[in-house]
Symmetry: C2
Subunit: 341 residues, 2 copies
DNA sequence: GTTGACGTGACATACGTATGTCAAATAAGG
DNA sequence: CCTTATTTGACATACGTATGTCACGTCAAC
């Protein structure tokens, strides 16, 4: 039988009320009695039954996800995963809202964050680029007692309670290792593309890539990063030029979004080149590209895991419970056609 | 506010007792009233608060894991994962035991299974090869009302409630695809090894391998499977002979356990051959081999996920709750040195 | 009209925890 | 030692559900 507060009271020789005062950090307890209670807790190995406590408190958790708006396949999969996780028993007693912000406009992001009703908010999962204003807004949210986790992109200067996502430096290294092994014994160059190198994710991935290539695969050269800036024409033009001017091109590594347009461009200008293509994130586009053999591998952070992990972490924080690190570790997955899910 | 049984009673115009009788499938309810209650449940969207119910019932779950004994690095990681998951909040209100059986002795396995105290057992996770006797033992356990999940190896003829593990055919395909891509444009053969082809896992993996190689990589030939049977000398001898007689050998694919001895053998007889080496399962041995560059990639089913999933599924079964499929899907992961965790 | 059997409702108690009220015990200050 | 402030304990109620008891209907069969 697991010990209850009653057992603690008996063991410590105090009343239930006192035990409650100690356990919930209320005032008016003599140090000596507090010690006795804490001792009893340790001796009996008492752990609070969170479910019973929540029942008594009529506790409900209010969580908000703040995600980028605009057309982005990856974000769409995240949204879907959040919705799915919110519906499942993962979120017993939790209400989950999803808000969208225009991440290109830091002012709008902050406005959104500052407009949250802090009086009944328990936690926020944020997926936006870090700016000084965002950092301040997070401090504001935290000062109101809500917990904040960074989602997908870390916010290292914002004193978040947790980061839910992958290490993008390792992800870049993984991409490099895959490219190196797929191009075993070959010599040539790799086209590296992303939407924008402003995002820290792309920067970190690029670092990882370069590190692995220079250390383990000196015969492969990564070309300077091409930035698309969400412009299909630009994608097409740049890609075409690169392919034409680099006859030694052996592979393409797409570090960010814009895969649909990039694949489209590749179909036009590199049909006959037998390039190895590696990208990030499992979306309808990349999934189809894998199936069709237009991509060789993609590097994935499981969005279902992301969503569930963010919710679990927020709950654990609210309950002042331990985080089960092994479960919350988001893994860098490598997906090919054969292990597609 | 979420509706409670009280709301249902009011809405249906019956008493609490009647609602309880309907909800818990007890007798003595007129069909008309039962209908009214069910209608009310639907109209108000009532869902039972499992936590409150468990509290009232003083419900505790008793689960048992039945795992292979003997020295096996992979099983050791599974055991550790089960222990870790049992300690964490994953298993609120659950007692988890781990039993070991000698899987080589079907009789002993069955004896173990039949000796379980069925009167207070809610579920079993089983990782043993399927035999007719095992099938009968499982039927016996199920007839006592406990739930059974197959772990790692499916038991397709045993009418288990769930299978927690990867599709080994796809895993074999994944191995094939990796080998094919790592040996792009090369021609040669692949040494395939396992401890024993008796286990269905190895058979399925081999099928998957062959399928992918013949379809996508016709320049690569997989040699007949070598079986080690836990004999280090045999490993060394067989491997040495194969390496010597196959100058065109380009890769080694280890489908099962025995990686330590195999690596040892490779170190002696294939130091200079620059072979691509792929194996299964993340253990201390394969981890170190990745780090040292002795293996190129390993195919992994995350054991933490396995353990937690088995426990969640068993609980869901006990509570007659829905299983959140997306969460319980064990993924085939590809791990290289760069995305090692 | 009586006897059952069956269906039903009112009520009570319990699970482990939280929280409130209020009187009593204790300690500190003079 | 008395007064006052602080600390404590006894008790009650609640959360949503499960489960038990018991009496009151209703209806059919005798």
């Amino acid at each position: 039988m697991k010990p209850t507060v009653h057992d603690i009271a008996r063991e410590a020789g105090v009343s239930l009320s006192t035990v409650d005062r100690v356990l919930n950090g209320r005032a008016d307890v003599r140090p000596k009695n507090a010690e006795r209670v804490k001792d009893a807790v340790k001796r009996l190995g008492y752990v609070r039954d969170t479910n019973a406590a929540n029942l008594a408190k009529k506790r409900r958790y209010k969580f908000v996800f703040v995600l980028p708006d605009g057309p982005n396949h990856f974000v769409e999969t995240v949204v879907e995963a959040v919705r799915e996780a919110s519906g499942a028993q993962v979120t017993d007693r939790a209400d989950v809202d999803v808000l969208f912000v225009n991440t290109a406009d830091p002012h709008a992001v902050v406005k959104r964050l500052m407009s949250l009703d802090l009086s009944q908010l328990d936690g926020v999962a944020i997926m936006v680029p870090e700016t000084p204003q965002v950092r301040d807004a997070i401090a504001h949210i935290k000062s109101a007692g809500a917990y904040v986790v960074a989602l997908v992109s870390d916010l290292p200067n914002s004193r978040c309670d947790h980061f839910v996502g992958i290490d993008n430096f390792s992800a870049g290294q993984t991409a490099g290792a895959l490219l190196g092994r797929f191009l075993r014994k070959e010599r040539g160059s790799i086209l590296v593309a992303t939407n924008s190198m402003v995002s820290r994710d792309s920067i970190e991935r690029r670092y990882g890539l370069d590190k692995v290539l220079s250390r383990d695969f000196p015969d492969l050269t990564a070309l300077p990063t091409i930035e698309f800036h969400d412009d299909p024409d630009r994608i097409r033009d740049t890609l075409e030029r690169s392919v034409a001017t680099h006859p030694e091109l052996k592979a393409v590594y797409s570090m960010g979004s814009g895969n649909a347009a990039m694949l489209d461009a590749l179909r036009h200008c590199a049909r006959d080149r037998d390039l190895v293509v590696i990208a990030h994130d499992l979306t309808s586009v990349t999934r189809q590209a894998l199936i069709d053999g237009e991509m060789d591998a993609i590097i994935v952070q499981n969005v279902g895991h992301l969503a569930r992990s963010a919710l679990r972490v927020l709950r654990a924080k609210c309950d002042a419970a331990e985080i089960f690190e092994a479960q919350e570790q988001i893994r860098i997955e490598i997906i090919m056609r054969e292990n597609l899910y």
